[in-house]
Subunit: 469 residues, 2 copies
């Protein structure tokens, strides 16, 4: 009898695994993918660019369609969501999203790659307010709503005002996209700073870029409800008064989608995500998990976190697929192990590039790690070049050892340079060592001392270490 | 009695050391700097931008002037060149460049930072042909000659044709600058490819960019002489015929300037540069050396090379300064050690970014290192973004161990990303490890798999290693 592998979730993690298992075992494995939406393998990070009309067709964000997967022997069932898992009987209870009709999917092995679900804002009465944008179908829906709104605005029906709730990646990118499309955009967040993955002083540079681009940023404000006139939104009601608006978009983060895996008894860790080992095995025999729904080890802090990023989902999916293919083939397991993360992330916003890796000062302090930090501003080209640009740099290192703990960059042409610091973190490099690494230099790209090395030198001084160059 | 430190050469290495010693010891050390040119501490790499009119004032390339150094207590003597060193008497024989008048400079400690001198093209009769551009004063002279030539061209006196000999960094950058200033530029080299620090297949992309920009590239051509009409150049005579031109610029590389140090008995290594330890000490007691005139250890190839780059000169100067300051203060030596290099270099040319680190396939082959290589083309943004750009990638790794040996990048927005590979080389990282590093991802900056990690994955396959993702 052929082995039956069921995969819950048809995006990056699930389909990376499916593709690998199919390549290794071909038709010897029956591959069934249950996907809630009409889409497979799409770039969630591309949604703001769709909303901002930098990309015209939602299909452009789809790496491979359900039809393409089917042609390759992977039975993708779209519009189907998993409801529960019976790990002893090895059966998934599944439901058609449209009809509500349920059926059972038996499995020999199960990969749970259900991703994360967005935070919604409930209001008294039970309904939620605003349009949430997380899945691609939601992105498409928002894009259509904005196009309708733009038409009304252009006819003079209203001013075309949109409030975005949430100042994470998606919220910030949406605010930019709205301005690009001629809307008045107000960005609202309960916290005292935008983009909480940066320290407040670095986030201030991001806020400045948003304001300069025309975004109205309002912090320490909580959204309470919408004031409606029939079906038309008049204003977003907050604890700091009303903000007149025709639309509220909610981008208030997302939580790992663990509920269905929990019905099988899969353990959830302190991070709220599924516990898996470095090959993607959950605590329940026969069930693997990967992607936005799992915990990862943060190598700098040595703690378990949930980090929702496509790059991890791809790697984890591949690794789980390698392990699954090996187990299906009768081996003990696969030879690929997820090493953990260091918290690297980048984005581009209103012409400003933003990057971070490792720990912020806030995080290092919370973890009780003795550290020193430096913050300074440099240029993206040699200072004598025309338009040398500006890069704000912040770096943190551990007292005593000098081990780099983290770096943050905000400014001109700096984002991908964070991968240098990320590599240092992956290898536990000290600032004493890194300051003398052979990094590149040419006037169009910076000064004789690379900015990260300027930071290392300053940190060596702050930490009282040697050699002090 | 105050200690007397004499420094030969007032550019990056010499002045980095001088500044450090002055900061530590103040007036307790008498600091004398002998500099041949009228300039100190200038950016040699900025000269092509001066020639290309991206920078208007040569003084912009000067980080600190002789006057500024003097005000800070460092006795800079410009227009003075060292002629010989008597290490037993601890005396430098120095000469005024203008008058030829000689005098002696006694020293307690000596730092030799005489840089490199450009290759000149001798022709029968003893004279050399063409304008050499290496030192800042030569850059200024070339800029003036071009301005005069442009005036003549605009009056219709001639066609404004310039031949550049040499396809290293400076030659390529000059050719670009000439096109930008409206000259017809022909680039000539004896070798069969441009930019020999890249493999030929990668250099072909550079050549293509040059041609697309309007540069006439002629390879495997040797310059023999100039055909003159009185004082006016008519054509550059080569072994492949004449190239009509009003000016020949020679950028045929440069050799470490060791002659004067050799008069003191300082050893020269296989690379042709001065042998120094990792604190900059030469083989002669009391004499240090740093910058373009010294040998460095290449950590990838484990051999000694001469690498002429401002970034190394700065670091080495600082390290020698730390050692000198310690020795002057009565200690055994300084605590800073130059770790060696991995051959990192970048440039930007005709809108194309070019970067390399470690070994090329050619170099790995010459060294007899068993290796595998991959070459492929990716994008600088996610493929679905508008104008995703194009990046040509080539990577080399060692058979057996999987240790990365080198990387080359040519294309859009890729140059500084070489520092990621350079960091891997500094730490001896394998492609198996690096393929799973937590590098950044966002659609404006590339795909879910970083291009260097795509290369690692391909190399793992080529080398038959695991895990194969």
């Amino acid at each position: 009898m052929t082995t039956r592998l069921v995969i819950i979730g048809g995006d990056a993690a699930g389909m990376s695994a499916a593709t690998h298992v199919q390549r290794v075992h071909g038709d010897d494995v029956e591959l069934v993918v249950l996907e809630r939406s009409p889409y497979t393998s799409y770039s969630m990070c591309g949604i703001p660019f769709l909303v901002g009309h930098e990309i015209d067709d939602p299909e452009d964000l789809v790496v491979r369609t359900p039809e393409e997967f089917r042609a390759q022997g992977i039975a993708v069932q779209t519009g189907i969501e998993a409801v529960a898992i019976d790990g002893s009987r090895r059966v998934v209870r599944a439901r058609q999203v449209d009809s509500g009709k349920e059926h059972e999917e038996p499995y020999d092995h199960l990969l749970y790659a259900a991703g994360a679900h967005p935070t919604r804002i409930p209001v008294p009465g039970g309904d939620e307010v605003g349009m949430v944008v997380h899945y691609l179908d939601e992105g498409v829906r928002l894009e259509r709503a904005l196009t309708a709104l733009a038409g009304e605005r252009d006819r003079g029906d209203h001013a075309g005002r949109v409030v975005v709730l949430g100042t994470g990646y998606i919220g910030l990118e949406l605010a930019e996209s709205l301005i690009q499309r001629g809307f008045a955009a107000t960005l609202v967040d309960r916290s005292a700073q935008v983009f909480k993955v940066l320290d407040a002083d670095m986030a201030a540079h991001v806020e400045q870029a948003l304001r300069a681009f025309g975004v109205d940023v309002r912090l320490e404000v909580t959204v309470e409800s919408l004031r409606m006139d029939g079906t038309r939104c008049q204003a977003v009601v907050t604890d700091a008064g009303e903000i007149p608006a025709e639309l509220l978009v909610v981008a208030a983060g997302s939580r790992p989608n663990t509920a269905v895996a929990e019905t099988a008894g899969c353990a959830v860790g302190v991070s709220g995500a599924l516990v898996v080992d470095d090959r993607g095995r959950t605590t329940v025999d026969g069930i693997w998990a990967a992607g936005d729904c799992v915990e990862v080890v943060d190598l700098v802090a040595d703690q378990r976190l949930n980090v929702q990023l496509g790059t991890h989902a791809n790697k984890q999916g591949r690794i789980a697929g390698i392990d699954l293919a090996a187990v299906i083939g009768g081996a003990e397991g696969g030879d690929a192990h997820f090493p953990g993360v260091v918290g690297t992330a980048v984005t581009k916003l209103c012409g400003t590039e933003i990057a971070r890796t490792g720990l912020t000062v806030t995080e290092a302090t919370e973890l009780g790690i003795e550290h020193a930090a430096v913050a300074f501003t440099g240029t993206a080209k040699a200072g004598y070049m025309p338009d040398p640009g500006e890069v704000h740099v912040k770096m943190v290192a551990e007292r005593g050892s000098g081990r780099l703990l983290g770096a943050q960059l905000v400014g001109t042409r700096c984002a991908k340079h964070i991968d240098v610091a990320a590599s240092w973190l992956m290898m536990g490099v000290t600032v004493q060592e890194a300051q003398l690494f052979d990094l590149s230099y040419a006037p169009p790209f910076g000064g004789v001392w690379d900015l990260l090395q300027v930071g290392c030198r300053k940190l060596v001084g702050e930490l009282g270490l040697s050699p002090r160059l």
